[in-house]
């Protein structure tokens, strides 16, 4: 496979219950393409955390997944409030999510740490008031 496959998803910020549609879909696509189960697991969990973050913090956004021969690249873009302190946000247990989100089982401050845990590279481009663009790569 030399050609780069690209998938685009709109993440609906209004519907918390449908968050995860993109991750589940990319999991299905990667499985059809024959990627190893561990790679698929890492991509789909990292992507799901990104989706959930966009729904909780940014009112939705967009996810682009580029499937290369030896790595998968995920680009998550939103136009939310941005992350004021990235170092703090990367700490396990730190969360700015509202209590309503915690009743749904999220807001544990594990979203970004999990994205780092399951990806091989994570780059966050953000500034307060200017949204957020997260690029993750998972190598096969």
């Amino acid at each position: 496979m030399n050609e780069v496959l690209q998938f685009h998803y709109d993440v609906d910020g209004e519907d918390f219950t449908s968050a995860g549609e993109a991750s589940v879909q990319i999991k299905k696509n990667l499985r059809q393409l024959g990627f190893p189960p561990d790679t698929i697991r890492r991509v789909s969990i990292a992507m799901y955390e990104g989706e959930i973050n966009m729904v909780i913090h940014a009112g939705g956004g967009e996810a682009d997944v580029l499937v290369h021969e030896d790595y998968i690249e995920m680009i998550l873009t939103d136009h939310g409030p941005g992350i004021e302190n990235v170092n703090l946000a990367m700490q396990e247990g730190y969360s700015t999510a509202p209590d309503t989100i915690r009743t749904l089982g999220f807001g544990a401050g594990m979203g970004l740490p999990n994205m780092k845990r399951y990806s091989d590279s994570l780059h966050i481009d953000t500034a307060k008031g200017q949204g957020c663009k997260i690029t993750m790569k998972v190598f096969v």
């Binding site: 697991r41 969990i45 749904l104 089982g105 999220f106 544990a108 594990m110 999990n114």
Partner: protein, 109 residues
């Protein structure tokens, strides 16, 4: 052991058994979904009392062998239906998560 065998051995209520032959190779207990995604392993039996729709996505994405609801936790029929379409094994028990961990331990240790 398989999920079917585990359900029989622990007398679990079957809500959805799409993949009865899935192998249970370990276990994890927790309700914070991101925490579970950070720590549960593929093939685990996941014990929780959380029953919202996101539980099904987490079960599917982590690749756990089955999700076991403790304390007879109430779950919507619609969510059980989603589990069925996503291929998620969903079981339930009247026992607490603590009691379930104790009962499960000999099978996965």
């Amino acid at each position: 052991m398989t999920v079917r065998q585990l359900a029989d051995a622990m007398d679990l209520e079957i809500l959805c058994l799409c993949d009865p032959d899935a192998q249970v190779t370990g276990a994890y207990a927790g309700d914070l979904l991101s925490w579970v995604m950070g720590h549960a392993k593929s093939g685990d039996a996941w014990l929780t009392v959380m029953t919202n729709i996101n539980v099904i996505a987490v079960a599917s994405l982590t690749g756990v062998a089955c999700t076991i609801l403790g304390d007879d936790a109430v779950i919507d029929d619609e969510i059980i239906q989603t589990a069925s379409t996503k291929g998620v094994n969903l079981l339930r028990s009247k026992r607490s998560v603590f009691a379930l961990c104790h009962a499960l331990y000999p099978y996965v240790s």
